[in-house]
Symmetry: D3
Subunit: 115 residues, 6 copies
């Protein structure tokens, strides 16, 4: 199983487990999270929202969040050039400490795009 | 070997290795760390101290620290409902960036509680 | 005007301004934030929830969040000894980098308690 | 003097002082920083790059960086609705710990837009 | 009163207040903090330890910690060139998000060195 | 394959992949990163620069960055005592949240030094 499937499988399994625990705060955060990036929600288009999600995840150095937004960026039709540039800006903002996460992000994006 | 054993084994092995290196600062920090959460130390009870340790670890997004305090929370007799709620508040404070760590925390807690 | 009044005034004024802008995501986060710490909401009592809010704010080094939860901790009837101890644990978790925030937290707490 | 002028004056004065010290690494970072957000540089348009700069600054909770990118977002012609929404997403990602910075960001944006 | 005096006065006043509260964890952390950077303690010399304290404070973006270690770096006889270079490396590691803190650090260092 | 080889292999492979994507910002950051720590670049000696890189990586809790600077510290001829002490100071600054990273750092250093 490749890393994209592995990430999605664990994410789906554990999200279900978490929601099953029926904690009201967590349920609302999950709900809000889904709505915020939805197409037609708000005024910003999906591509811009995904670039925001991607770069914020990168400067905060959360590999799984980066993977999630790379998957969504790919679905939204963002090009490799756009994704690489956005990640470059995030690396500038977040510093060289971001580079190991950038490596894994490139790796995941290559798998998503079948490179 | 399950993840609880794996975590505890590596933690024990490396803590011994670190203390063996005889660095005074590190030894004192380790000592202080043990005392701070001990029963009878200070005025806060162990359950409250473990919930503090757990939520601070979660907002700082340190998986191993979360695992450690989940183990201690379990020993201290905290219920799943209490642990889930505390982690919900931590996710609210720390934002959606905390969610991947929340997934792994639920996973580890389920193993601890034999769910 | 003392720092407690100054903090509360600016907080109230800007929260109103933010809610007036009618952004759905922000409104929901504010709403969730109010509910999470409310008495009777969930299973943890208010004192414990405020200690979680306080220590997480301290390790994340957000002075205003610390002030807010100190105010709430005071209202909830937490003693100076309990608050100091919780902040001590947070300083241990977050390191000496937390100390300047600890200074301002003590200062604010002293004003709240009329010391 | 209002806060926009105050921010810009100190920023200009100290940037000159820093560059005068002739440290090669810092000079290159400053240079790179200017180029990265420039119009025509790369494939992303200025509005998108400023929204990235703004939201990353907000989740990393740097007030001055937020102010800088709010100024640039204003120059780039972004509307209040777009800026508020982007900041809402950043608050969702970064959590309630971001809220005090959101207050100051709204305040600064209001001054920029003469509200 | 200049900013160096202002920083030192508040620091001294609040440190005394904190120690007076007699919290064991905090007292030990303060004690450990003093010892760690002391001359003759350990194998690294004071200049190197202060450069470590300074750069770690800068990447963690704590203005007061930066000020404290700039004061100590000055006492230890570090030159402006050494301090600037170390701060340049820290800015590279921590990214452009560090720049506002770098401005205030230069400002403080200039006051310390009477520039 | 041991963890040192594993780290170096993945790092080399992905750095090549990243540079191949020809993003100007990233290329410059990589270039700047190489130069900053080079021998003869600037006024600080390589040992001091590596200790800065190591401790900043540790307080920012980036395992891969820590591994990289441990490798470089070893090449630069730093002793175990110096490296352990620097990491002790970093743990004091960054708090107990750093400890899991300290464990992995000791583990990696032992492999580097053939202990």
């Amino acid at each position: 199983m490749n890393q994209v499937e592995q990430f999605n499988d664990y994410r789906t399994k554990m999200n279900e487990r978490i929601l099953e625990s029926d904690n009201l705060i967590i349920k609302r955060i999950f709900n809000l999270d889904t709505n915020a990036y939805a197409d037609g929600e708000g005024i910003l288009n999906v591509k811009v929202k995904e670039l925001i999600g991607l770069t914020c995840s990168l400067v905060l150095r959360c590999d799984d969040c980066v993977k999630y937004h790379l998957g969504k960026s790919h679905e939204a039709g963002l090009s490799s050039k756009e994704v690489h540039e956005a990640m470059g800006i995030a690396t500038l903002i977040g510093g060289t400490i971001v580079i190991p996460h950038l490596r894994r992000a490139y790796d995941y994006w290559d798998e998503l795009t079948g490179k």
